[in-house]
Symmetry: D2
Subunit: 185 residues, 4 copies
């Protein structure tokens, strides 16, 4: 095969693009994830705009660790939909088995990107399932989103943590003129 001759070399741009494309193909828009962020954060920041929410969701999705989790989780959902996994993994994924926790594990690797302060937001939204999360959990349409619903909630929770850091930075900048370094966020 011709391909075999090209030595492997990670292409970060392709990883990033595949992440956005797969979310889109599975029916999730940036806008919908941003709406989850708004649900979580409007109480604390009444002036928060949808533009800011979208921007923070995109920043979360630009992280490699997040991309790896999204690509792996959606891939497993798709293979389960096609019935291509071995039993009993196939059955556990197809039925969103409560004692299967690998979806939560991947979700946590996403939340963790902005630290432990996002854990609570993730759990809260995953339980209440507002907006897009309700649709992803509706098993009636034959689609399998065992990983995707947790992933989307985790991206929203991570974006919320990022906003909390940013807003603190803005507050300190106003008061003291000093700031956290950009890479602190």
């Amino acid at each position: 095969m011709a391909d075999a001759k090209i030595p492997y070399s990670l292409n970060s741009k392709k990883v990033a693009e595949a992440t956005t494309n797969l979310l889109h193909e599975r029916g999730v828009t940036m806008q919908e994830i941003a709406e989850l962020v708004m649900v979580l954060q409007k109480k604390y920041y009444p002036n928060l705009t949808m533009e800011e929410c979208v921007e923070n969701v995109e920043a979360v999705l630009s992280k490699r660790e997040v991309q790896n989790a999204v690509l792996t989780g959606i891939q497993l959902d798709m293979l389960a939909e096609e019935g291509k996994l071995l039993s009993p993994l196939q059955d556990m994924l197809a039925n969103d088995e409560g004692l299967y926790g690998v979806d939560e594990i991947l979700a946590f690797s996403i939340v963790n990107v902005y630290g432990s302060i996002g854990f609570t937001n993730y759990g809260y939204i995953d339980k209440l399932k507002p907006g897009v999360l309700e649709r992803l959990n509706d098993k009636a349409d034959g689609n399998i989103h065992t990983f995707l619903d947790d992933i989307v909630g985790a991206v929203a929770a991570a974006a919320s943590s990022r906003i909390a850091h940013r807003k603190q930075e803005e507050r300190e900048l106003e008061t003291t003129g000093t700031t956290e370094e950009d890479n602190n966020l």
Copy 2:
């Protein structure tokens, strides 16, 4: 010093006793944690009794990993109450600073004892703060429970995970006569 002559040797019983005693001293009863478990689980298991909830809370608290987190977290709360921590850690703990996440980190080491399926329950209860969690969060009384409220929520979430495993075991025992091994729970 006489003490210096006694070589150190871990006494597991003392660690377990100190855990129960410290929770009691800080005003948290087994009954109150069990009530949180009931809030989280009654929807799924309508026949769940308070006795079962208490029993599962006690099983969680018998784990070494949990005891380590409880002892460390409450110790930090107490030192913060006495004003004995260095600034700015003292201020962050005294004010339950939102960007300080070590309390969530300890809470997660507790939830993890029964696996990732408890993450959601922890986040949910930590956000809603029913029962004892509301009291622990009331800053009006001068007490500092920055770690304790997260710890108590985490113990309740871990106990809920343990119940989910046990109930599955009971169900399979009824249907098939076979069971998960005891140390699986």
Copy 3:
């Protein structure tokens, strides 16, 4: 389909059996994992026997959380071997890409089953790659074990943590006649 009429019901025994079978199919024996445990622990417990090591490996593998991670990881390895994953996930797994960390994330959910004290053992053995780990990392044979090598190391690290808890229990039993509860281990 006849199958569609049978409502889904988790069969724990099948999950456990599939875990053992898949490890065997992928060429990993209990004995080999037990040898890794011996490498990690013989320094601390000179009288440790291979029988004890095997017994502790089996106890780790009887945990649901561990089974979920093993089944999911090996499934991804197998699909990568068959070239059935979407690009660029396919390429990252086929080449054990260094910036892909989902294998480590699953490994950590295994180590965590016996708590944080196993983190160090996991990292150490994953770096040195003694015994079976060296073979799993040999890319020359065309097999893909991107997940499996981390999983096997993690099972050995978790078994080591379990031994540390058990040995402490034995020590205290000899000295004081009291013991940690069985479910503490």
Copy 4:
């Protein structure tokens, strides 16, 4: 008290300064942590300079999550040295008890800042204890560094992960002219 009238407001600069100062007071220099990074990475990047290692250590230490863990861990070490913790926590910290894992838990919150790919490096260095880690583990001098040795190893592991991301970025920039976004690192 006059202080009581000043409402609490997080000062990020003070948190960052306290982190650097405490490490310095406990006898750990940036240079020494950078040397650990060099031990971990020189094999992969033969041209890596000490300046780059120092720069990456500083970037890790500028993260809030890392600062929280460093401040909390060192505080506990200091209180244990002064004998101010309650028994049995005091004894477990003073003797670096093997079954006490909160030090590893804090270390992992540090490693996690640059993702799961750092887990292996942390475990490896924590086991081998080169350079400054050997000194921190020498109990002969009466100092207690139960948390600090794990923290220092974790900062070095996180800095190594950061370097892995940066080097990939440089490589892709050379080859393709495109790059990961800066906040991806």
